[in-house]
Amino acid sequence: MEKRELRVGFYPTTSCYGCQLNVLNIEDKLIDIFTEVKIVCFHMATSASKIEESVDVAFIEGAVVTEDDEELVKKVREKAKYVVAMGTCACHGGVQSANIGAGFSLDEAIKTVYGENFQFDMKVMPPRPLDKVIDVDFYLPGCPIEKEEFLYFLATFIWSTWPEQKDFPVCQECRQKGNPCVVIEEGKPCLGPFTTAGCGARCPSLGLPCMGCRGPIKEIQRVDAMAKMMEKNGVDPLEALKRMKVFGGHSDEIIEKFKSLVRGE
């Protein structure tokens, strides 16, 4: 199998840029990354970045919030063979989407943050995950992304294949580590059963309940069962839904359940 230079680009939309920073934080492998692949665009790393050039793999960080974001991701989609949604903002809409479908009003949000009569020089929209705007090939969740998982994704492309994504919950990794279960132990409102694995159960390993920062598992979301589990541990169902919404704002299952609870069904 002939090795061919892989062309890779990193593109930011609206987010904290923490995922891109985490790529740059892979210090011991950074030279290898830049040697093995051709970085076509990565504004945080090189001023020689070119948005217009075609790439094999485009890593897009952030949620789509502005008109510029939308234009950028559509342009990238056209030039990229594979698009990877990088980070929970791109995969699920991120924390800024927490109130989507639960009484979110863009005007009110702007007023709250910037005050009355604030003038933007850009057009703002309610935040959306990447796949509500363009076709996404692969999801690399995390807030921020895990370095190991990023390297795995990149390596599969170098090996002219693509990554297998995790479709199982944090609990799997938590038990494999031999941790006690924070739900059974202390009745904590842990989102582990609901959240995509990959972090090595970082929070539960420290005795903290999972916040769900890697977003809900795409394939199957047991919203009712999660709410019931938390209710047994004294968390009000609406409160439980709000917790799930922090990183799963755009999940249809959660929004539906939320609306039915608010309507008092």
Binding site: M1, S160, T161, W162, E164
Partner: protein, 287 residues
Amino acid sequence: MPNNNPLQPKKAVIKKVFKVTPTEKMFVISFVDPKDQEEFERNYTRPARFVQVNLPGIGEVPISLCSPPTQKGFFALTIRRVGRVTTVIHNLNEGDYVWIRGPYGNGFPIDEWKGRDLLFLSAGLGMAPLRSVFLYALDNRWDYGNITLINSARTKRDLLYYEELEAIARTYKGDGVKVIQTVTREEVEGVCKGRCHLYIPQANVDPKNSVVIMCGPPRMYQSIFDEVIARGFDPDYIYATFERRMRCGIGKCGHCNVGSSDSMLYVCKDGPVFSYRQVQRYPELME
């Protein structure tokens, strides 16, 4: 390096690649080490067993053998481009290496069928494992009675081995071998129209002394079971192959389990070929 690890794949080389349909390619492969080839041939006695094709660093997939045990020095796999690993395999060329372990699975109990007529029913990719059985039967022509093979697919260009089967039909004309090829989604010259079971009445086999061998999507099995039994075929001689997720091929990884209250089976080890009587005993096979 020799070791006693049953999961150790052996290096093999792609000798030839044929494009069979727009989505399927046939790979003719042989092991690099003649000892591995010998061992493979020793273990491949019943047709339609399968191998695990391993691309180191990329992944592993189970693929049915489409060449019969009577062919020596190589084996053949027909692979549909459907997932991550098969996409990479499709990009391989003659001279490229793949790693193989196997053969696994039980294969068809073809020695128990001596003296009987054979009726093959295939839909889609099901023709790949059946090819190995069909060719085996032709290579041992004196052991079996009349043979009919009904090959079906959606369109003519999806029919696996269309040309090869037509050629065989011409060669064996007058020797009790009949090939019927049919498509379900189009009307086109040279092939029949409709599902394979429509052509069972045209088979040149004696129902009471026949073996029915089928491979296709499981949802076609029940209607064919019903149909052939109603037509007087012997229920003790009906066989089908079943698909499940498989990772190891030797009954360890647990994915292909199928159970009933008397026992849990592994399709990879106890199958993938099951008789109609086994299907009655393990109804989960049909689910």
